[in-house]
Amino acid sequence: MIWQQLVNGISVGSIYALMATGYALIYSLLGFSNWAHGDIGMIGAYIGFFSLATFNLPVWLALIVAVAGAGLVSVISERLAYRRIRNNNSPTMFLMIAAMGVSITLQNFVLVTVGSKFKTYPQILPVKAISVGGIYIGMLDLISFSVSLLVILFLYFLIERTKFGLAVKAAASDMQVASLLGINVDKYIGLVFLLAGSLAGVSGVLLGMKYTVYPQLGNFALKAFIASVFGGLGSVPGAIVGALFIGIMEVFVAGYVSAGLRDLFTFTLLIAVLVIRPTGLFGKDIQDKA
């Protein structure tokens, strides 16, 4: 059973990882935790649902529409809610509060327009599992794990091997100097929001396919946030390791200790990290941990 639980944990963790990398990207650049990140994923899940269920698009196209849609909403949220605050040189606290506002706005927008009813994705894949030596691996898990892996590899390539990555890293280390050196910081911040929003969209669609879609779906991102704190806020590899660790830990606590105590363990870990090692596993910067 240990192996089965490990598989369960990795499958939960890989979706946390997609979410956590988005947190890490935005944190590394702007130094604040984007509380609306999970809700952008929720919007992606709804766009995917309607593309499939109402407009009968093929799966690949629905995925693209959902991911692009979530990315777009993310960019718009940056334009409307964060850019002005940033240009005013206001404290990062203001950005966090604005993000909470965006989160509530998005949730209520969906509540009013779509309603609070739970939606289920049309069954694209039959409920099937591959059995490997007595361990059941769900088809959907296999797919979501591979998608997560591909997306994360792509992200790594983007940041480490392209001019875009270099510019983002430069802006992250010192925005003013980067802008003096001719980097259009606003443009790159917009692009990072597009990227983070798209990642949230991917995880939203995967979550929607695996479970159900509802306006509070974005709340699961709290776990992804803890993962990114654990891994070291602002560090993309840290977020991935942290997410997998939390996914596996949750599954083992629920399976061997008690599901009721699962969140207790997760949040205790958060407090322990903040008290004992505020930089997390791979973090660099100890100042204003949000």
């Binding site: 944990g9 939960v12 159900t212 949750e250 399976g255 009721g260």
Partner: protein, 384 residues
């Protein structure tokens, strides 16, 4: 001068009006008024309106057959909006202004828990429909509300029916349970299931917990999968049931799932699909039982092909139960009706045969069991 003329005119009108209402009161001696409180507006109006429709239709049927004790039946429905305060107000008005002999409603435990003490105080019998909390008929300290009754069964009963179904019909020797630690309904049902299942000689081999709102139950289900029970109790609401069913099948669990009336939604089939095939759940007897066909047809003929909700059956059985009790009592007074309702040993309605426990006012009656075959919900039978 003018003013005093106006005043005297008004006085005349008032006196006239009073004498008219007095006349009205006299005439009402030949009529038995029965009240209904339900949500006639708002989100849950679909149930309240069905209950009232059912009662109006049934009253017509009773009147055509000669009424109760030779008197005509008149049904008065008031809107309780599914809200405890509004329901108490509606009940008060029915009792004090409309002078009803009894009130039927509501299907919400919260409303009936609020109305029960008022019913005792005004001494008007109140019959709850689907409200399933034990506290509808007994207060916090376990004392009986003498004027509160119910037609539906209570939560613990479903657990017993499910355990008996598992032992007798499905030949289950071992059971797994996954329950919601945040819900009284779920923990209660699990507890009563377990007690009865163990009493039947079965063994609960795995009992795991979860939280409504968790979307992933696979780590708990893996524990159940390893214990490999014959049946699995899933006392959750349909949305969680759909997730649990899909994830259980994904982990290779093939045992039938069992559940209570939280499963009772057409959404379950569309959300869970094949994963729910071959599973069973208990609920209040409904129109799925063929006995109810003539009544359902009459209902649809009366109300422009409106498909009746189960609440209409409660309205029907409630009214016939009052008729049965009044005829046994031989007089149409509230205390006599109360006595007769309390001492019901057998009343046969469309929802099955029931008797009343005088100590708790809970009915002993069958629960309906439903199953899923080929993507459709089927009525499996009624069980006690």
């Amino acid at each position: 001068m003018r003013k005093s003329k106006l005043v005297s005119l008004m006085l005349v009108i008032i006196i006239l009006a009073m004498s008219l209402t007095a006349c009205g009161k006299k005439a009402s001696d030949d009529v038995i008024k029965i009240g209904y409180v339900g949500a006639l507006s708002g989100e849950t109006a679909v149930w309240g309106q069905a209950g009232l429709n059912g009662m109006l239709l049934t009253a017509k049927e009773i009147n055509e057959a000669g009424g109760i004790l030779g008197k005509q039946v008149e049904v008065v429905g008031l809107d309780g909006r599914g809200d405890p305060t509004d329901s108490v107000n509606a009940f008060r008005r029915l009792a004090t202004e409309e002078n009803v002999i009894a009130v039927i409603g509501t299907n919400f435990s919260s409303c009936n828990i609020a109305m029960a003490p008022i019913a005792d105080q005004l001494e008007v019998p109140l019959i709850a429909t689907a409200a399933s909390n034990p506290k509808v008929t007994v207060d916090e300290d376990g004392n009986l509300h003498p004027y509160s009754f119910r037609i539906g069964f209570i939560d613990p009963f479903q657990g017993q029916v499910l355990a008996n179904l598992a032992s007798a019909e499905l030949d289950a020797k071992t059971a797994g349970i996954i329950y919601d630690i945040g819900s009284d309904y779920s923990t209660g049902l699990s507890q009563y299931f377990e007690e009865q299942f163990v009493a039947n000689g079965g063994e609960v081999v795995a009992k795991v917990e979860g939280h409504s709102g968790d979307n992933d139950f696979r780590s708990q289900l893996s524990v159940i999968a390893e214990a490999n029970p014959d049946v699995i109790l899933v006392p959750w609401i349909y949305k969680d049931v759909a997730l649990i069913a899909n994830q259980a099948r994904e982990l290779g669990i093939t045992a039938p799932l069992l559940g209570g009336d939280g499963w009772d939604s057409p959404e379950l089939l569309s959300m869970a699909g094949e994963a729910i095939e071959g599973s069973f759940y208990t609920s209040q007897p409904s129109f799925a039982n063929p006995v109810t066909k003539p009544y359902a047809d009459a209902y649809m003929a009366e109300y422009n092909n409106l498909v009746p909700e189960t609440e209409a059956l409660f309205g029907h059985d409630g009214l016939y139960w009052i008729k049965d009790a009044l005829e046994r009592a031989g007089e149409a007074t509230k205390p006599a009706l109360r006595e007769a309702l309390e001492n019901t040993t057998q009343f046969d309605g469309l929802m099955g045969s029931m008797s009343v426990d005088p100590k708790t006012h809970n009915p002993a009656k069958p629960a309906s069991v439903y199953t899923f075959v080929d993507g459709e919900r089927l009525w499996f039978g009624d069980y006690k």
